[in-house]
Subunit: 340 residues, 6 copies
């Protein structure tokens, strides 16, 4: 993950549950700051994500601690984890990081939910590649985080420049319906796209704006010829969404007309069940663009537990005192994670 | 909603789908910038939220347009909306705002999902008040947005300072399990809390850390006496979560010991069904603290459609050309929404 | 019902269960031919149909009997009947009609199944009219019987000349896809239709053969103008079938272009649930054309029981001896039903 | 299949959808009669039946065409076919056969529905043979078609002389309840049956008319001795229908009395599930007589598509232009199918 | 309830959980015997039964206590009780009754389960009376308790002399199948029954042993004439059990033959659902004889809690300390319940 | 099974259906007492129990018969039996045992129901042992029979002295909640238990009365040290019952404190599904104490049929005449079963 400095609201604790700030005030006044061990785990399982961002946050939080009082061990973004497995362990003075419990758990919960859903859909679609198209369902301040998590989960690309950059890729996209509507004709919009954009942007044209998709796909193919990289089928729900039959027919009509090189990208309300239906029907889809199944995934809840205080094993009722044996955890070099 | 300047990533379009940036490039090169009408609606229904944040964004985007070419009409945060009802209509040069379609839809989708889920749970709990405790499930950059949406949906409070401030309230909280663990005893932690914090912070004590809740509640009540505002029951899943029977018993034991003034706050995995179960069982809950049912709510998808271009009714296939009759829309005074 | 002479196979008994022919042979050899009462009923309920055809058959079978030994009482086509209600009672010498038990029960079972299904769908669609389009699912020798039963069940028209004639109506239809394909363009096919056919045939044009329905509907409306009576939406399953949204959009686009007079006929896989969905969505359908829900309806089984033999009450095990009180039965004037 | 001349209503087109007659009129007036290729397929799968009757119809329709303009290829009655497999292809002038599309599809739909249901039940019952007893549920004009289809599907016999003849067999039957009621006693009816009928009619006696089946079976066995071929159990629904236990008991009582040669035929509301229940219970059934599961089977819908017009590949939207590769189709020698 | 001395095993505590005997030994050795209040309640609800037998047991257990240290309050057999309602409260020295906790709870659990099931079926059958016929499903040492509970639940009679006596009634019965088999004919068995038994035993004859029930019912009616009180239909499962249709037919055939006075008793696998089916079908059943639905009813679990010890409110975790307000409880006069 | 004389009510027939007494009276008066064969079977299957008690009863009933007229064959307690398998066959004069049909069937039905349920739960728990704790749900007169049946079904112990004795074992138990409440503290109650009871009673202490189980378990372990055999977890439903997580935690905390020898016994609402959940979660349960799943098991219905009378095969309708081949039956030596 590309390093970014945590936001000022995160660092101030303003974005966290207020009772952590209050606990900090109490401990300060009472002169308490024990050396504690906190362990983070989930009752669910999935593909871990957000833990690298948490490492960045901790690298800032613990910057002034001595190395022996700032020991962080963790798994990494992209690792699969099991129910109740420890994914992050922090050994430090409590007041050095206690304020960030909400932030750390939130980074993990939301990104892990997205990465796990992405993995689910990538596995359903394999070997057909999947692109993340869910930016429109989440707040713009976290579309980059969403797209990064989708790529951690296995997507080969994402639609936002910010998200793609976070994962070290270029963004992926076609054209909006608005562009076609403004040009008033799909072929004219496609020709302008072809005229204007840099040659390294693949020519992928939306073909459902004005006419039947099969008819329009042929018109566009005749207009752009070999320069046409692919067409995107995004039939609206009012017209029954994209079906395997439609893909069969468009593929057949393109092939009959000599456009075997034109790829077919499918989007619109895709989930694992629908994707499996395309694959079982042998529909010739070249890639799937998936939105809400990933972006609408429920966060996967994480919990942070104190298991040791000043060397003494402890736990709240319902948990087992003392550190949990966790051989998969790796030591984290905090200085390497600190963003400038 | 408190005014905030949109983030630089939002304003640059980096957080949006890349094809909007490409469309902008094409239109610029082709010299096209028609006056268009875009309408935004959802296939779902619920409690609208995020539209006021969108107004702030538009107030920045359209800052240089003449008033007659920057007409925005909209509903407001907290309004209920029906399936396919228009919630926002923008009439302006396309290039003045086309780049922000992803951001606007994302603000609406996620906040409306949260506000609608909050409304659902608030209605299940009525007249018992509900507090938003979901910050730990979402990325710290949007916990304020989450808590604001929860309050728009009807919650009476929220746990993050940033979110509460956005809604013009003070944050609400008790104490973390960590504090109790560090003090090694619930009563000692409660006494420190009581000693240190400002008198206007209500004394609400967690009672499930070390001992049985009924036993601990009585110990705390004896220790703090009249100064104890309430206790929070948050029994872990390993101990069967909070049940109506537990509330009955704790209430009865507190009352028998003369602590009728101590309120009972319940948290832990609450959803409308469990809340209805508490109400049907006449369990004497004074407030519910709800996390993942709100914070894990699925975004409610919104769509933006061009319906008019340079005065001509138009629409993509599957939609009806021309503006939709929408008498509930109110004109938006953009200058009033611009954040300094 | 229009009178028709029963087929020779029916009159010979060849189309009936062979054991009736054998019973006839045995009784003849043994010199037995008692005066019996047979009652016909069903375990189901529904809209009776086929009983008028049974009256015609009995009018031929009993032609040589004395009036006092040929007493037939019955309900009529279109009557609703209850579970176990007697719908037909025959009092005659057994050998005069015993051979026709299979034929009578078969006429009742199949026609009643169709009429009952038609009634179900007509009630779901009310007040929108329904036309029977199911001829393609049944053998050509009974399409007339099917369409007659559909009209008895409440359909306002049917697609076969033979069936419509049986019910005293004109057949209803539009044009086959083949015609559009042969002309190579929907508008050209519509113009030829308009040129050639008698002015009393309503101009109803299929609009889904080549292009998107909304686009094609407008082209046809512009071509035929006021002479266009309606368009038929019959979107294939591969394109998601007709949806309420499609009807909304086509209606809106026709109205916006000034073709408010053009009716919309919907067909394709309709059943009561889908029809209710159209009505609940306020889709402006002017009539529904229904096929397999009616033509594929399961026959409703009827049973014929001897209840009296030479004046003695009798019954097989499981039934109650003697005639059943049946005040709704009407005497049948056999001579009036005899076809020339 | 035995050859029969199509009915005059079929040949006139009166039993078909009226729009085929209208299309014919239009094409005639417009002077169009292209050489076309029509393909027939189903979205379902099953046991094909009715296609031989369609060959007879086409042999009459295309009688005046030159051999190179009347090329028919098809599967045969009894062939299994897959979803969307082509079962019939006609290459001829459109006007030579267009009028018969409804008739051809209807022959296929209804007979294939019956044959497929018969196959299903024959497979459930194997190796116990199944007889078709469903004539009483369908119109007498098609009982022969029903019984022929049942035999194509695997039944070893059928109850109507007309149907059995169509399949080249003798009809199968026992005796009606009416005969037993008229004789007033099962044994007396059985003795008359035995006295009168030709020795080559197997003596199968119904034993549920007056008394308990087990008691009556023994009485009949004692009366007819070695001449008794079998008994039929047809217990009415009011008495709980035939159960495996009843078959066990009747078999045991017959065997104990030395009538091991008497076969047991079971009928009454049989479907695959109930038949499997008999087989799993090891009930000694010698044959099953099945009615409504076969006769009430839903037609299996077929579709006819033009795929080529005057040598040019074509198709309506949703289908793939040009003939489908169909190696299983066999050329049809029309002159051999023409009935005199 | 008729008073009976508790069995010696009950009084010795041998039939109770051994830990009560051990607790008694410990308390004796430790010199502890506080004055306690025990309350008995259930998590279920229903018709209370067994509490009168518990009063008898307590009248023996507390015989030597002073009246002020032996205060028992309770509801009575036949009372309906709600979830968690107190049905029995004992205030006495613990060692005077602690040993009998198992016995008291067992009496309540099993009898209340039976009475509640009986009430359920009596309500389903109302106004048709129900007789308890379940003795064959429970151990002979408790058939009297079963039949008493069934009568408390609303049955009008029961089949065992011991059970009927406990409830103050005469037993009810017909004749066993064995008797009919030994006589070899239902009519001969019925005649012997009629000849031998006292005239005050109603003549109710089983009619399904050898022949069809309808036939046999008429034979018996002709044989006994006016002396026949009723017939019992008990068709075995192998013959489909008794159905409403069978009752209709037997009633009709009896009435047609002038035996309108003969009652019809139905038995065999009856539960509330099947009984409702008879009533909804207007089957003329005069009484139902019900076995396993009552005798197989699950015990309804009761719990005994100490709520006060030597005047101090107390309770185990999960319960509320101190006596529960229970205005429906009535003081029990123990001396009146003591059996001689 | 330990021999016990049948109760006087059983021997007098008072506890049986009255119609057997009446049949006896009729046969006596009519001078009939044939030599009959009765067979007993069930429509269910399971683990047979109660048949040894039936042998004792028959040993008393047939005491005066000649050996050749008192032939009993049977399976034994603990044998598995199949649907409709004969488990007991009696060949004797009918009047010698006919009166006991109700008692014999009742012994079999109830004990077999319990033993079969016990087997089901023992198999779910294997290899963890199961103890029967259901005495509190059944009448004290049959707790011995219940516990005997549970042990026949595979339980290793039972809680009542009477039941354990019947199976030749010692009873098993811990301490009641009442004892803890009277001592006012779990540790004090445990110490008294330890002080008073014989050393061969294992020290098993209930730990859920006053405090959280984990806390209390440690306190008790510290108090009794090596003398502590085990603790019983019996968390009430109001506190969520015992969960695998609780067992994990208590085990871990005991082990951490050096009390690895202390066993964990789990009780409270256990059924096979919950037990499987403990095993699948690897919860370290040392034994399960099971109550209502066994004690509330539905009786398994048995039927007695006369199959031969004076050497003649016979049967009621629905059954097959004559003795059934039953090679597993063993001759019963009645004199050996007679109790003194």
């Amino acid at each position: 993950m590309q390093r970014r400095r945590p936001s000022s609201e995160t660092l101030s604790g303003e974005s966290g549950d207020v009772y952590f700030a209050r606990a900090d005030e109490i401990l300060a006044k009472e002169g308490l700051d024990p050396l504690v061990t906190m362990e983070v785990f989930s009752r669910g399982s999935g593909v871990l994500c957000g833990v690298d961002e948490a490492k960045i946050l901790l690298s800032h939080a613990l910057v002034d601690c001595s190395p022996e009082e700032a020991i962080v061990e963790a798994l990494s973004d992209g690792d699969e984890f099991a129910t109740k497995e420890i994914v992050l362990r922090i050994r430090a003075r409590y007041r050095a990081f206690g304020l960030y419990e909400t932030a750390i758990l939130g980074m993990l919960a939301q990104s892990t939910g997205w990465a796990t859903a992405a993995r689910e859909i990538v596995e359903a679609a394999a070997p057909t590649p999947v692109i993340s198209f869910g930016a429109r369902h989440v707040h713009p301040d976290i579309t980059d985080t969403l797209d990064y998590a989708a790529i951690v989960g296995g997507c080969v690309g994402a639609s936002t420049p910010a998200g793609a950059r976070l994962a070290g890729l270029n963004p992926t996209g076609t054209m909006p319906h608005s562009l076609v509507l403004i040009f008033g004709d799909t072929v004219r919009a496609a020709e302008a796209f072809d005229r204007v954009l840099s040659p390294d942007v693949p020519r992928v044209v939306l073909v459902d704006t004005f006419r039947d998709e099969a008819e329009e796909a042929l018109r566009v193919a005749h207009a752009l010829g070999d320069r046409l990289y692919g067409i995107r089928l995004d039939t609206p729900a009012e017209r029954g969404r994209v079906t395997p039959d439609l893909v069969h027919e468009v593929r057949a009509r393109l092939d009959q007309a000599g456009f075997g090189h034109v790829r077919i990208i499918v989007s619109g309300g895709l989930d694992p069940e629908r994707i499996r239906h395309f694959l079982e029907s042998d529909a010739a889809v070249d890639s799937f663009a998936v939105g809400s199944h990933i972006s609408g995934a429920r966060p996967i809840d994480f919990t942070g537990d104190l298991k040791e205080i000043d060397g003494r094993a402890i736990a709240k009722r319902g948990r087992i005192p003392g550190p949990t044996e966790s051989p998969r955890l790796q030591p984290v070099d905090l200085s390497a994670w600190r963003a400038s």
